[in-house]
């Protein structure tokens, strides 16, 4: 076991609150968990040295930080600063049918509900998920009442000052027939360390539109997870945009716990410098007639490394499942590296499942064509890279977000080219 984990466990033992039984359980499991090494399948390509030597510390003094504004989004802001929920940044009045509160402030019946669902969607195998269970200080519970459509998106931001450590956790529940859009956004400054986990319970016929932006770069360790539980006829559409940092790891788990659920996941990551980004996307089809469509695209430049693991697991009862995973990667430099592993594990016969993975470089002919039209080589490269990613941006349902992210990505490509 690493020193880091030992100190984390010691710190967690000092926390006593409404989550006590869950925290004790997590600590129990952590004590039995081996510190991942290169031989641990889930961490095979992602060494944990940056965690072991992170200088990040918990900062308890109040720091004034607020999330960058996104034009035309008019989101309900749910802000964590260095791991602490900042209620001052939350709107005074929330739309009817939406409640956002600290778990500790809930009435006893609601608190009991929240306690029961806590950590039931996020799988126990994730060592940092357990760390988050044990250490997240302010657990926020978001719930949408039955049949309610919340027009304004909720934006969950986790902000970190330099050298800060934070563990944030949000539980989101969508009652039957409700609709909600959630944006998860981590903005960290140098030398920080964060774990940010959100669990979503998507009720019968409910719809969730989800975005996760991991755009912090530099010497940060960012580990997180978005975990979804889909009931009958539930629909989710998730978009993930990631830039790498010293170590960025994101796990998404989608569980088809009801029939006729529909999940879409579009993920793109663009890495530069010595960055590392590791995405583990797991889909569990536990019930029949589910549908999953995943598109993952990745561009790696310079000395960066991308890891992707896309697992689709069809259980014995999940007949008539349709599941598709498409993973495309562009390798721009001879020092960069791509490790991808799409997995299918299938126990039902009447299903249609497919996955594809490609690794290649920019089409030389396309590059040549643009150059013959007078576009400089570097501009042509940016155009082609952008085109590769833009196909997924075009699929983002929220236009304001797509407009916001496009120039950020273009800027990223321009920076890659300068080197």
């Amino acid at each position: 076991m690493s020193e880091w984990l030992e100190s984390a466990i010691t710190r967690a033992q000092g926390i006593h609150d409404w989550l006590a039984p869950k925290r004790a359980h997590a600590l129990d499991l952590l004590a039995k968990t081996k510190w991942p090494t290169r031989k641990t399948e889930a961490w095979r390509y992602t060494p944990l040295r940056p965690v072991e030597r992170t200088p990040a510390k918990m900062i308890s003094d109040k720091v004034d930080l607020s999330p960058v504004a996104i034009a035309d989004l008019s989101a309900i802001e749910l802000v964590f600063v260095n791991g602490q929920f900042d209620p001052a940044q939350l709107a005074n009045t929330l739309p009817e049918g939406l409640s956002i509160a600290l778990g500790g402030d809930l009435e006893s019946a609601q608190q009991a509900d929240a306690l029961n669902t806590f950590s039931t969607i996020k799988p126990e195998r994730h060592i940092f998920g357990l760390v988050n269970d044990a250490l997240a200080q302010d657990v926020v519970v978001v719930s949408v009442a039955e049949g309610v459509e919340i027009i304004q998106p909720i934006r969950i931001s986790s902000l970190l000052s330099p050298g800060a450590e934070s563990h944030t956790r949000v539980q989101v529940s969508l009652a039957a027939g409700s609709r909600l859009t959630v944006i998860e956004d981590v903005q960290a400054q140098g030398d920080s360390f964060n774990t940010a986990f959100v669990e979503y319970n998507v009720g019968t016929n409910a719809r969730l539109e989800h975005y996760r932006f991991a755009l912090q770069t530099g010497s940060n360790v960012a580990i997180g997870g978005s975990h979804f539980n889909l009931h009958d006829h539930a629909k989710m559409n998730s978009t993930i945009v990631g830039f790498g940092s010293e170590l960025s790891r994101l796990d998404t788990d989608i569980i088809h716990a009801g029939e006729f659920a529909d999940a879409k996941l579009n993920a793109m990551y663009l890495l530069d410098g010595k960055e590392l980004f590791d995405l583990h996307a797991t889909v569990e089809h536990a019930m029949p007639n589910g549908k999953t469509e995943e598109n993952v695209r990745c561009i790696v430049a310079d000395r960066s490394r991308a890891v992707f693991n896309g697992r689709i697991h069809i259980h014995r009862d999940a007949q008539k499942t349709l599941a598709e995973l498409n993973n495309r990667n562009l390798l721009l430099s001879d020092k960069a590296e791509i490790n991808t592993k799409p997995e299918l594990e299938i126990y039902a016969d009447d299903v249609k499942c497919a996955h594809g993975a490609t690794v290649a470089q920019i089409d030389k002919q396309a590059l040549y064509y643009l150059q013959t039209r007078g576009v400089s080589r570097s501009k042509a490269q940016v155009m082609l890279n952008f085109g590769f990613i833009n196909e997924l941006i075009d699929l983002m349902p929220n236009a304001a977000l797509a407009e916001w992210i496009r120039p950020i990505i273009r800027e990223r490509f321009a920076q890659m080219e300068v080197k």
Binding site: L331, N339, L344, I346, D349, A357, T358, V359
Partner: protein, 478 residues
């Protein structure tokens, strides 16, 4: 439908007879003395014994691999006998007439064309019966061409320089748990050397068979194709029906020097255990080839037997422009478990690899493809294409795909695709409409599904493989 499946499941293992041949078998157990005895029985030189003991010491430090998607009780390595030789082998037969007729009958039942058919088929067979090579035919003819094809125990004596140079050069002693065990206790196997610029005049073939109860078979095959040579090698495996599980941990090493080509084909039909998963062979095999400049290695396998299969025939594409191929059909039924696939390690420039894998699961079996394609920084312009298709027959089985793709060269192109489906109702309907009974229809559809692989097999093998599949699928209509 269930009736038909039941019928299919009840089908008996056709090669499951036990030959009554007197044999000399070691007491179960594994220690340095056993290894010394094996080495002593073979009259091996000192270096070979040292090599074995070195591997054994490494093995003691190693842990059994647990990453494969297979589930079986822990193997007690002390309860296995590590040497078994038919007694009548003390005086080695000089010709086929001297071979124990009981042995010949065994082969006959297996349908190995050892005598006349042999001539017609033009196949030289080095038949391994338990642990000692029984007879090697057509040796003279091969010698004329300068080809060496003999038991590896003999090669150790006759061609020590070649063996010393190449053994363990592709699969190092401590490569993995079972390879290390094999290095320590291997009893026999085949050695092939094709001299420079020679095209081997016939297809070489070995038939392995585990006969003695409680024995493990640890054979070792080493094929060296010198510059510009060509060889096609066939391997078939069968084992008798027994209640207990038997271990088969083989190592196959292929060396294709510049411009050489090796084609290695396997039809594996070890006893798969009964319908409740009792008995059957644990087939834990390490197969790997190294390709030098412009060389080519092609693996083709048809896997229908064994209760547990753990096998990844691989290519190290070291030389520029070298080519690796892997064509596989794996069929599991009953409670069989197969975890098989390949590794293509691209080191040289413009190296190419193709992987075609077809998995068919029926009954309560589990069938996994596990593969690795690695493009190293030096693999300029390298290319890989992988296609893995799985077919499920029945709702109690599983089909899985675990491909690893690692690329560190921007000019390399890797493509992987996998699909999983069942025999579609439309296909069945069409065939039935044309008057085919369901069984024939399934067999035809499966045959079509596997066609890409079968066409890579030498003709005699392709026929055998097709038949094997047909028998295995009998009645599994779903």
């Amino acid at each position: 439908m269930t009736e038909q499946i039941d019928k299919a499941l009840a089908r008996e293992y056709e090669a499951g007879f036990v030959s009554d041949v007197e044999s000399e078998t070691f007491e179960p157990g594994l220690n340095e003395d056993v290894i010394r005895r094996i080495s002593g029985m073979k009259g091996e030189p000192e270096w070979m014994l040292e090599w074995r003991l070195g591997a054994f010491r490494e093995w003691l430090e190693m842990e059994e691999p647990e990453w494969a998607l297979v589930d079986y009780p822990k193997i007690d390595f002390q309860s296995i006998s590590y040497y078994s030789a038919p007694k009548s082998m003390k005086d080695k037969p000089k010709s086929l007439d001297e071979v124990d007729p009981e042995l010949l009958r065994t082969y006959e039942k297996l349908g190995i064309p050892l005598i006349e058919q042999q001539m017609l088929a033009g196949i030289a067979v080095d038949a391994v019966f338990d642990s000692v090579s029984v007879v090697t035919t057509f040796r003279e003819k091969l010698e004329e061409a300068g080809v060496i094809f003999c038991p590896i125990s003999e090669a150790v004596h006759k061609y020590p320089d070649l063996v010393k140079k190449y053994i363990g050069s592709v699969v190092p002693k401590k490569d993995n748990y079972y390879a290390a065990l094999n290095c320590a206790v291997f009893t026999d196997g085949s050695f092939v050397y094709i001299p420079k610029g020679t095209r081997c005049p016939m297809e070489l073939s070995t038939y392995f068979r585990i006969n003695e109860q409680n024995t493990g078979q640890f054979e070792r095959t080493l094929i060296v194709a010198d510059e510009g040579s060509h060889v096609s090698y066939l391997e078939g495996c069968t084992a008798p029906q027994r209640d207990e599980n038997q271990l088969h941990a083989a190592v196959v090493e292929l060396v294709a020097l510049d411009n050489a080509e090796i084609k290695y084909s396997t039809v594996q039909n070890w006893y798969p255990g009964d319908e409740n998963g009792k008995g059957g062979i644990y087939n834990f095999v390490t197969k790997r080839g190294i390709c030098h400049t412009n060389a080519k290695i092609s693996w083709t396998q048809v896997e229908t037997g064994s209760s547990v299969t753990w096998k990844y025939p691989s290519c190290i594409l070291k030389g520029d422009n070298s080519v690796g191929e892997f064509y596989s059909v794996a069929l599991t039924r009953g409670r069989q478990q197969a975890d098989t696939g390949t590794k293509m390690i691209h080191l040289g420039k413009n190296t190419k690899s193709t992987i075609i894998s077809k998995g068919i699961s029926a009954g309560r079996s589990n069938n996994s493809y596990r593969g690795l394609v690695r493009m190293n920084p030096g693999a300029e312009g390298a290319r890989n294409f992988t296609q893995c298709d799985s077919l499920l027959i029945g709702d109690q089985c599983g089909a899985h795909t675990f491909p690893y793709v690692e690329s560190r060269n921007p000019s390399a192109i890797v493509e992987h695709e996998a699909t999983t489906s069942k025999v579609s109702d439309e296909q069945m309907f069409l065939c039935r409409q044309r008057g085919l009974d369901p069984e024939k229809a399934v067999s035809m559809i499966v045959n079509g599904f596997c066609k890409e692989v079968f066409k890579e097999l030498p003709m005699e093998f392709a026929v055998e493989a097709g038949k094997l599949l047909e028998i295995s699928l009998e009645g599994s209509v779903g």
